[in-house]
């Protein structure tokens, strides 16, 4: 599920530029501050790596869902045409896997896409009734926010504020959840 520990007191550094925030992540980390998360209006390449997030395993989920689609289609065509009610159409064997390729392909894609998107929503804790945890409302517009969980850091609040400002934060706010 999503970040379960989004509570407590946070320092939020607001940045104006994506390249600045990416560099700031490295600087803040080097200064010994643990970063909770960075929020941005659009994806910033390399940011997840800089933050040390593990590589997503969504691909594995996609593969498994795709495989389940392939197997479903094979089972469906085998059961109906090969076993339950064999029919000879167009001089082909009643069960002739080659003519089922379109159906097998489509069901593979369908299961893979729906399963992967479902996994994505669940793993990020997204859903129609979810209340968004916004550290700053402007992060869906033009600002970039770096949230620092004060309870997870031994460095003092004012020191972290200094580090954030030094690394390019335009402003530093306190956010309490």
């Amino acid at each position: 599920m999503s970040d379960a520990h989004d509570n407590g007191k946070f320092l939020v550094g607001i940045f104006d530029d994506d390249d600045v925030v990416l560099q700031a992540v490295k600087e803040v980390k080097n200064a010994g501050v643990r970063i909770h998360e960075v929020y941005s209006p659009f994806p910033i390449h390399g940011l997840d790596v800089a933050l040390g997030h593990p590589r997503t395993r969504l691909g594995i989920a996609a593969f498994l869902f795709g495989l389940s689609g392939t197997l479903t289609a094979l089972a469906l065509t085998f059961y109906t045409e090969g076993f339950d009610w064999p029919m000879i159409v167009g001089g082909k064997d009643s069960y002739s896997p080659i003519v089922y390729v379109p159906v097998i392909f489509e069901l593979t894609v369908l299961f893979c896409a729906l399963g992967m998107v479902g996994t994505f929503l669940v793993s990020n804790g997204l859903g129609p009734t979810v209340k968004p945890l916004m550290y700053d409302l402007r992060t869906t517009d033009n600002k970039f926010a770096m949230a620092i969980d004060l309870s997870k850091n031994n460095i003092g609040e004012s020191d972290i504020e200094q580090i954030l400002k030094k690394s390019g934060a335009a402003e530093v706010n306190v956010k309490q959840f």
Partner: protein, 476 residues
């Protein structure tokens, strides 16, 4: 190093837009009251839809006898319209999936509208399948459901059943792809919303999105896989539609080049429809800085390429009809070009093969008026292509005593009009209530593809092109 772009590339975003400008320019039309033009257009669309729906219900009530079909010509406008709409529905996913894999940055400004168009076009196409089946209340018979009629399953060897799977999968995956693309933008609208109601509605659809780095990383990964899935999918759909014809033994249909020929034709007509819609959107919503002449030219290049492929396919068909030595095949093609439907054949040839070649001229390719007119012409031509393939192949079959002509009735025409009403009603609703350009994606290309650097950062002066590599020294 996503920001590095050659300095010789023409900018894709003009007017020195900042990230905030992108949000403002695109969210504005969602937030404001409907404009007069929108209200008038929407009213017309709803009136057309109402008229079409009434005619459609009469078609279903009375039966397909109200159409001009006869014993010889059993497929005519219904399947023509179906294939035409499905073809139009190919551009959206092509733009968002294939162009994403090819890293074409210009797709970012047009993918949202093109995908919406795709979804609505597929809905229109599906409505013709429902009409043509005659009894929509038993439409579920085309699904492999357990039933009480004995072990009566659908015939998985039939291309018509493949079509059911292909089109429903295509529709579902396109819808999901489009909706996933909308989520970050819906969150933007939610966070800007002034009224409680719109914050609630857009908030529900934004699903609690907050743009964290972890979510974005997964999101990008998911988009890439969805693009990888949609690429073969988009090619498979029209391939399978072409199988409806190609696996039969009707001269003129029984052709192995149908799959690539149909796919090229589909992309050709889809891009033409995107051009028509986007040219209107950019003016009405004042998005000329986002959808530039550069974008229009890129799409015209795709139209020229696919139009030429279609032209080669027409000539190949004709050549093979003669070269195969099959008398029936040969006659089918002679009859197309010189028989009673010669005008349809030559309309197709002119609109699809000859006029799109004008786009070889740079001035025409970059002219808004020419693009709009030629795109309309392309879609007329592509409608005639399907009409020619379907009706002229059927109307003179193996038995000369049963040769016949097809004459459309009021209901053939009205049911076609219905699909326009449906399409434009849906598209106008989309253009009012959802952001027509993908804001999040456009923001990712601002630095590399904007005319001017929006903000002064990292020692780069305002106004300098971002191709300057020193600007990217921070990016690993």
């Amino acid at each position: 190093m996503s920001h590095v772009t050659s300095a010789v590339r023409t900018p894709l975003v003009t007017g020195g837009k900042t990230y905030a400008d992108v949000t403002e320019d695109i969210s504005k039309q969602v937030e404001g009251n409907p404009t007069r033009e929108w209200t008038i257009a929407f009213t017309i669309a709803v009136i057309v839809l109402t008229y079409g729906t009434a005619c459609l219900f009469w078609t279903w009530w009375e039966g397909l006898g109200v159409w001009g079909l006869n014993k010889t010509v059993g497929w005519a406008w219904d399947i023509t319209n179906f294939v035409w709409w499905v073809g139009i529905g190919h551009a959206g996913t092509l733009i968002s999936a294939i162009l994403l894999l090819f890293r074409q940055k210009w797709r970012t400004a047009v993918n949202r509208a093109a995908e919406a168009m795709t979804i609505f076009a597929v809905i229109c196409a599906a409505s013709f399948i429902m009409m043509h089946a005659g009894r929509p209340w038993v439409a579920y018979w085309c699904l492999p459901l357990p039933n009480t009629l004995g072990s009566l399953w659908v015939n998985f060897k039939s291309p018509l059943v493949w079509d059911v799977f292909a089109i429903s999968t295509y529709f579902t995956v396109s819808l999901v792809f489009w909706y996933m693309g909308l989520i970050p933008d819906l969150a933007t609208i939610r966070d800007r919303a002034k009224s409680k109601v719109s914050r609630y509605i857009y908030g529900a659809f934004a699903m609690g999105w907050n743009g964290s780095a972890k979510t974005w990383a997964r999101y990008e990964y998911m988009s890439l896989i969805l693009a990888g899935l949609s690429t073969p999918l988009v090619l498979s759909v029209h391939t399978i539609v072409s199988f409806d014809f190609a696996t039969s033994v009707i001269p003129g249909w029984h052709t192995t080049i149908f799959p690539p020929y149909f796919v090229a034709g589909a992309i050709f007509s889809g891009f033409a429809m995107v051009q028509n819609l986007v040219l209107i959107i950019r003016v009405v919503f004042k998005l000329e800085d986002y959808i530039t002449v550069e974008h229009i030219e890129s799409m015209n290049k795709v139209i020229t390429l696919t139009g030429s492929i279609v032209g080669v396919a027409y000539l190949t068909e004709f050549f093979i009809a003669w070269y195969s030595g099959v008398e029936f095949e040969g006659y089918a093609f002679i009859n197309r070009a010189t028989g009673p439907y010669w005008w349809a054949y030559w309309a197709m040839m002119t609109c699809n093969v000859i006029t799109p070649q004008l786009f070889w001229s740079r001035a025409i390719r970059r002219s808004i008026v020419w693009t709009f007119v030629l795109s309309v012409v392309v879609n007329i031509g592509m409608w005639f292509e399907r009409f020619v393939i379907i009706v002229t192949s059927l109307h003179r079959d193996y038995l000369p005593s049963s040769w016949a002509m097809f004459h459309p009735t009021l209901f053939d025409i009205s049911d076609y009009i219905f699909s326009f009403g449906l399409f434009f009603t849906l598209f106008l609703l989309f253009s009012k209530f959802l952001p027509v350009v993908n804001m999040a994606e456009v923001k990712t290309i601002i630095k590399s593809s904007s005319e001017k650097l929006p903000v002064s950062v990292s020692g780069v002066a305002k106004g300098e092109r971002v191709a300057n590599p020193t600007f990217n020294k921070n990016v690993e």
